[in-house]
Symmetry: D2
Subunit: 478 residues, 4 copies
């Protein structure tokens, strides 16, 4: 059965045995660890909605490769419509989980590989594309989630991969055998690596001469030997562990550091090997797809944030305050800007040689630049509207303590007729969406830095055309 | 021949005899008045490019109504592709004329009427749609330009049309005969009214009970008796009259006040008559179409402005200055934001009952809100990059004065090897694009005020959906 | 001895026995609770620096009332110099603690009362000013910290105090005896209430007819009977409790909800009683002083944030990246804007009837409006520069776990030659300053909402003067 | 008599015989040329208000050098109060003339020279300071206006002065005799050069080895032989020439290009000669003073712009529209930000070796950065509020044309009871303040580019102090 249910998805993760550390301890049962489970639930929403009558048609389709129904999160786009659906599905999911659902990154890797393996083969007569297609069909057949392992630790930012004093600052091949390769290095900010069945590795940057050992792409199961997930700190992480004051009652996000401490990769899972001049294409395709994804999921998250602001206005009794309404309009405007540019990037997509469709990179990056700057503004507005209690709301445990529970409920009442519990719950959600670091910081750093997005729109723009427009109007002939 | 050439267009205008005043004088020869002619040339570009091998396919198409080749500026969109082409054609033209080409407003009226006349007929059994289709075919057959006569003078903004002390503050019917109606009032900011063959009148706002006399739509030739065009002042208007220091060597913009001093309209040209509840739909459809148009032409104008900035960097010797490049990226980003949102609005368009396609109003307005705020920023950046001479460049007449010409040319040199004439011409173009009032102020007021655009995205958004997203995540059940 | 040391301050708090709840439990030892202690340490810095040779002259002065050396945090300004020193001392402290030091609010209450009690007496012949001066001298003599108890819970924002269904939504008098009054209500966001010896209560808004019971000002010890401090949740609070991953190694902030569950106040501590028309002056004076304070401490916090960004550039190896430097300049510019407007507000201060100096409210509010919008931008920039590890840095416990410690240290290295520990510590500080809710949310809500600041600058501006400037230039005579 | 009246000022200009070209013609009677006269009137306002009972005390003072009453525009600040008065006087004048009054630049040169000549003498034993003081006393005794001749034409921006192919791209000495020196070059954007008695020349940038010939400072009468003023184009310049549609009924601005075609300067007027290492100090002092001046005059201009917006709201009938009020608040906030930072820069000023006071350069530049970005926003808002007629208001000549005058007056009416003439005049003023290039472009380029202001605040900031704040909090010891 190619489209898994939420339950089947969780059961499939339960069969994996990844090596995981968190807060100084080794974690054996990942799936039932409440901190990690909140992230798994978010990815699980992509399975849940695929089986929901209302969203089924949006999220599932027929694979042109396996000819079976599949979840769109396993399909590199084969048409403009597929590109557009990526954005629409992400927007729905963003509003549904109110955070990152974490499944887009793996898909963005599949999209990238489906184009670039083909291009490498064409130049070198290699057979990466066939290998990749086998892997893709496997992902589709089992409805698996992939994790994008792209961002290296980078060491000294002044130096390229092979120039680093410690050669492992970018993931590299350290051994090569008949069966496969052994790699060493580390990838960071691995959103949802434990919610994923497969870790898909791409290079994080363009590679220069001398960097051949670093020009690698491959995929391995998330519980491969010597692969270590270290779940770092997020600002509100202990609440999920304690099961109190979570804000978002179901979903959250975590982003481990992933250490490849001499990990073996069989040849059939190697999709690029030392073709260093294709590293740049890998990363630029991936980034472009990922920025397109963000235009969907982040506008969806703003839907939830806008809804929280509107609910707080209702609960506080400020629903008719003019400047609050103006601020809500600002939130809507930002969401639609992200969404509009990302949609346009999709509609303007073009077919690549392999048959996969690629978005317009200028418009995709235009969307991401807004995200990097404006999500912080959306957050600020939501907090402004919600009120100061976002900072210091008493704990649910206090509301359960009979010595003060009634006093707290008395004094936290808002608009007449609104149960105090609603106001408290919504304030807690606002706190979560505003102050939880894993997701808010991805607004800034997800899909590369703002500087990279800016450089991309400059590089991709036809500046000569623009100059010629001006020269003609000024009457200048060259 | 349904697709006119530039020359045929100018010749056709020459046959009209409109009543025109400018700077205190009556103008008899409109077409050869250099101030007005610069505007006519801009509209003329829509004819010119329709006959240009490179752009022909973009700008012309086959009319589904007349089955003949037509200029797209006479076609209400009959498909998503037609909607998208509106934006793309406008972007090309914006870069081509570096100002407003003035022909979109008439088309936006045609688009509007092709939807709303059908809707009125459906409710009232009237025959506006057929009348309108006759008019449309006439426009197509002769490749005519229409002018959108929408914005009334409004008098006291606190009062509705029928509440005004002077009843003519909104255009209204003052007499009704068997042959037609007589109307009185005035419309302002009539961009290109003298570059147009036809004046197409729509109401400027929703109408309340009591406002029936004001609920009118119709079309009349631009030289109809008792119709008076008063061409107002623009900031650099005398330069075109003197033929010196124009900056943009071919194109400009003007926006008369149009006084309907008891003007007769025959019934076959009346497209709405006292159906006041449809006034709101008229204006909201028109505004949405017009905001979509702006997303194209203004991003095209930014192309020319960006090109001017890049050329100035070259001519000044600052092509490698880092912060200049960052500023150019800001310009590009703004252009792509306008364009992306407007494109998305088009791709997401839907078919209306009459068969015309209508854009997504949220995305179209999202584009316009950026225009209203960010075009001023684009201008500021262009001036920042170009340098202080935008403020006070000596006149071409000084460069022609032998007493000082050589001294001026000596001292106005820029980067080594760049002829001083290029630098002077480009500075003059920058001045034109930055300081010419007719076009820059339409960034703010064209297509209605920012407040109207903001209200629209709020009204059209599904705020309940957003609230429900948040409530579900917070665990609130109603 | 009127100027306490840090140790004397802590010892003095140890003698208090406040009623405190946190996370569902009653807290008996407040001073040694690590969560609260981090806040006490921040306030303690005001004592520490008063005994530091470098800052002594800045922070201490001679009281014109007691003629003894005092800490400036007990002195209502008696000169323009005193006003200016408020801002300068706060800037130093902001950089020194990297968060809110929490002692300004009490001083802002003293400043307010030193003006308004005098004004009330003048109108009503009451003796509040003398009572207040006794209280002030007591504060000075013992170098005590006060807490500003201003913000009521407010209930339904649509309704005034006496219109609320529950009459206790604003703090009010419920009983009056010969000895004093009994009050009921709750005050929220009580920054540093447990770091304070005295709780100083002012009304939170202007009062209308019918609101007399709510027009109260008084002071009581922070451990008064029936006064309950409920310490709410902040985003990173458990880290201090666990003593790990704190980021800021010494200082933090907490903001309890304070419930006055029928609290007795003796007459000698009552500074306003039912003079409802003075409530507006109380709150507007307090807000203005508090907004001035923010201009100092928040620019000081930006100093620390800018320093963190610069250190991260050094540790990451991006010290020479052009766009990073531009972003640092943005941070500096924002700091200086807050500081400059707040300083100007101080220098333009004027003497009030009682002898206390009051700042220029327009300039003080101009500073605060920038804070409300731009601190979020400063935070965004700092995170942008620091890198993605702000989101998900492994715990110090992981760095202590021998199974993975060396791997983590290997892979978290940055620029050549920088010890990895420095990079880790600085990333943790950045996380703290960016994602800790208590302090970041005070950027938005501290000193009232942005809407209030905006209204203030409008109300205080001479709009007629401005209109007359324009009319004269336009040649309009009235 | 040391304080001239407006009439005496105009009479004194009438005695000069400068060489002037404008729009291709030589101008003989400068004072009565309406284009130039509008600028002279603006400078004249500094004389007018010095004799106005209301402002006399603000604008005049006693010279510590001549011991006579002088206009503050001839006084280098000798105290913090003098620094503060510079800002306050400029604010008043900005609102009074609604444009640039053009007299600050000369004063900013005097301020600069009063510091730097002293410093040069100290190093080299030269006698520039005495020479300068003689010149200063002459300026004070006759209440003269100076013009800052700073900005060179610069040629190729990639190259320093002595590296240019044409050596005259920066003004330089070409001959040296016993009587004095002969200089060649050109200075641009010479605001008010024909409203000035004296031209005061400073270098425009730091000078490197090899640039000695360019390291010059001196002063000469504005009608010196071989000194040519070329008045360039401003966007609305012909209106003043025609005397119609001026908007601002009295005042305007013009900025000639000034060509020094081998001009003789006697030694007693030379204030720096080849001491190239002092060029940087000259320009940085001048810029800092000039940026401080802008903080005053531009906030004053915003007062007039805000007043125009408020008047338009009244005349249009939108005085109670909520978003209009919010926009006015934005305008006020920007004005106060410029003013506040500039005031703070003044109050924090320090005495230099010569006795002149110098402002805090960080705060002065912080003000200017806001101006460079936010004046465009103020303009945008004013236009947004005023309405679309800013773009295309019929000419006063049309209102005088009996064929259409009554129709125009009928249709341009606004709010009930407001004479149509008021609305028309105010719209015209808005157009002037928004679209007149000479003044609006000085918002961006006056006092150097934004990049220069940004660099200054970075360079002047103590970044080590900031880093140390962060390191201490993070627990990092070096």
């Amino acid at each position: 059965m190619a489209v898994k249910t939420f339950e089947q998805y969780v059961a499939s993760l339960r069969r994996l045995r990844p090596t995981v550390y968190m807060f100084g301890e080794k974690i054996e049962n990942v799936v039932d660890n409440p901190r990690i489970r909140a992230g798994i639930n978010a990815t699980g929403a992509t399975y849940e909605l695929a089986n929901d009558e209302k969203y089924k048609k949006l999220i599932t389709t027929i694979s042109p490769f396996t000819k079976e129904p599949i979840n769109r999160f396993t399909l590199p786009p084969q048409s403009v419509e597929d590109l557009v659906m990526r954005v629409k599905v992400n927007r729905i999911l963003g509003g549904y989980v109110g955070t990152c659902h974490q499944r887009c990154t793996g898909l963005d890797c599949l999209c990238t590989l489906s184009i670039v393996t083909y291009d490498i083969d064409k130049k070198y007569g290699t057979h990466y594309y066939d290998r990749f297609m086998d892997f893709l069909k496997y992902m589709q057949a089992h409805d698996l989630t992939g994790n994008a392992s792209v961002t290296d630790v980078k060491g000294d930012r002044n130096l390229g991969p092979h120039e680093q004093p410690d050669k492992d600052m970018y993931l590299r091949v350290v051994e090569q055998t008949k069966e496969g390769i052994v790699v060493r290095g580390a990838k960071v900010h691995q959103t949802g690596s434990l919610s994923s069945h497969e870790i898909i590795v791409l290079p994080t940057r363009a590679m220069a001469k001398g960097d051949e050992d670093y020009a690698l792409a491959f995929a391995i199961p998330s519980d491969t030997k010597n692969l270590i997930h270290v779940v770092g700190r997020n600002s509100m992480d202990t609440r999920e562990i304690e099961g109190v004051d979570c804000g978002n009652i179901r979903y959250s996000k975590y982003c481990p550091t992933l250490i490849f401490d001499e990990v073996f990769v069989p040849w059939e899972r190697v999709f690029m090997f030392r073709e260093s001049e294709f590293a740049a294409e890998m990363v630029s395709r991936f980034s472009a797809f990922h920025r397109q994804s963000h235009g969907g999921c982040k506008s969806g998250k703003i839907d939830a944030m806008t809804g929280a602001a509107l609910a707080m206005m209702e609960y506080n009794g400020t629903a008719k305050v003019g400047h609050h309404k103006e601020k809500v309009i600002d939130m809507i405007h930002i969401a639609e800007t992200l969404y509009g540019c990302s949609l346009a990037a999709s509609y303007e997509g073009k077919r690549e040689a392999s048959g996969t469709y690629f978005i317009d990179p200028i418009l995709a990056n235009a969307s991401k630049i807004h995200e990097g700057k404006q999500m912080a503004e959306v957050t600020r507005i939501m907090v402004d509207i919600a009120g100061g209690y976002v900072a210091d709301l008493p704990s649910d445990k206090d509301f359960d303590n009979p010595e003060i529970a009634e006093l707290l409920k008395k004094y936290l009442k808002g608009a007449t007729g609104v149960p105090v519990e609603k106001r408290i719950k919504m304030l807690r959600l606002v706190e979560k969406m505003a102050m939880e670091s894993a997701d808010t910081i991805s607004d800034i750093h997800g899909g590369g830095s703002a500087a990279a997005h800016r450089l991309t729109i400059y590089r991709e723009s036809d500046t000569n055309y623009k100059k010629n427009c001006a020269k003609r109007l000024a009457g200048i002939e060259d």
